[in-house]
Symmetry: C2
Subunit: 221 residues, 2 copies
């Protein structure tokens, strides 16, 4: 029995779902509302965060720990290069999107516009939204710069870094906050990753009360 | 040539220094003030954060990416267990201290009391310090609870999770913010880890303008 406790618009859940799907590992998706702080969920993960992966009696939490476990136990197709220095670059960029992009952009835009409403914990703060809209620009430029020099974000092959970035951006695209025309490298990269079969189930998710823009699930965006 | 760009009271630098020392990898320590945003440093790590590890012409950033690189290239002594599920537990707890503890405690206490002064970026906010002092209690209780059930934080062997936790706590101990008497498991665990040779160079660091309490470098605290 493999079960993933998740939220449809959580970038960390999307990162793990993309890795699972790419490796063709089937899981039962169970929607968890972490803000309800359900006792049985907190017992599985005292951090109170999604995703949580349950495989029989084993419980895994933290998206990067889950990813490394999947990569170690189902190595094909690899989502980290073989060379240790290239692996470090893929992990550096994964942390860039999980930490830096998340804190500077996703927390300011998605959490203000969507999560506060879903969890009934207040109203969006305009200062944070302004900061998020300002910050996303230089992150999109960084992706463009990387794509001027590389085939994928971390080098010649697709890695977990591409999924970490696409996970954050696909959530923000759901609320129309990504300017895909900002540079051509960004657009080409997202078109490549969006067309992967692993992306389909993610783009099919809908969140009641929020309608994504028309281009959201369109491969020709 | 191996060089680590660091700050003495950065928990992420301490985590990497502990891993390097445990594996007997010698590095030249270079103090970097990330708030000065030195151009040559930003070129090495556009995230602008320490630690950065430079080995000849290779540059590594992000403490966990650096750690995984060290573990892969110098496996002995191991700082992750062999079993994938146990590795996931060590990585989950590492993320607990790097992310959750850091954001809820270290950012509120150390960064308010020390980093703001060092970087001349303002004065400590009493609301944040109160939140940090409240939050640290349940984290110390969590360590106590783990030590009631295990020999080390993540299981039977010492792992990077112990270093991640000790790195955060040793920085907070420098400013007297850790109540070691809160539970016996916490005290026993820190006594074990503090007595390791790898800890010596860390405890010898001094930050001008801040004097650690007497017990700070004392193995009998």
């Amino acid at each position: 029995m493999r079960r993933l406790y998740h939220q449809p618009l959580s970038p960390f859940c999307r990162k793990v779902r993309l890795a699972l799907a790419e490796k063709k590992i089937e899981v039962e998706l169970v929607e968890e509302k972490p803000w309800e702080r359900r006792m049985d969920f907190l017992r599985m993960n005292p951090a109170g965060q999604v995703p949580v992966l349950k495989i029989d009696s084993l419980v895994f939490a933290d998206s990067q720990a889950i990813f490394e476990y999947i990569e170690e136990t189902t190595p094909e197709p690899p989502l980290l290069p073989r060379n240790p220095a290239l692996r470090a670059e893929a992990r550096r960029l994964t942390a860039w999107f999980d930490d830096k992009f998340h804190n500077e952009v996703t927390a300011n835009l998605l959490y203000e516009r969507v999560n506060k409403k879903l969890s009934k914990s207040g109203y969006p703060e305009s200062g944070k939204i302004k900061a998020g809209l300002r910050n996303i620009k230089y992150h999109l430029d960084y992706i463009g710069w990387l794509m001027d020099h590389r085939r994928w974000l971390a080098g010649d092959t697709m890695t977990i870094a591409d999924f970490a970035a696409a996970a954050q951006l696909s959530c923000l695209d759901y609320i129309g906050d990504v300017d895909w025309s900002r540079n051509s490298g960004l657009h080409e990269w997202y078109a490549k990753i969006k067309s992967r079969p692993a992306f389909r189930s993610i783009l099919a998710d809908l969140v009641p009360g929020f309608t994504p823009p028309q281009h959201y699930a369109d491969l020709d965006f």
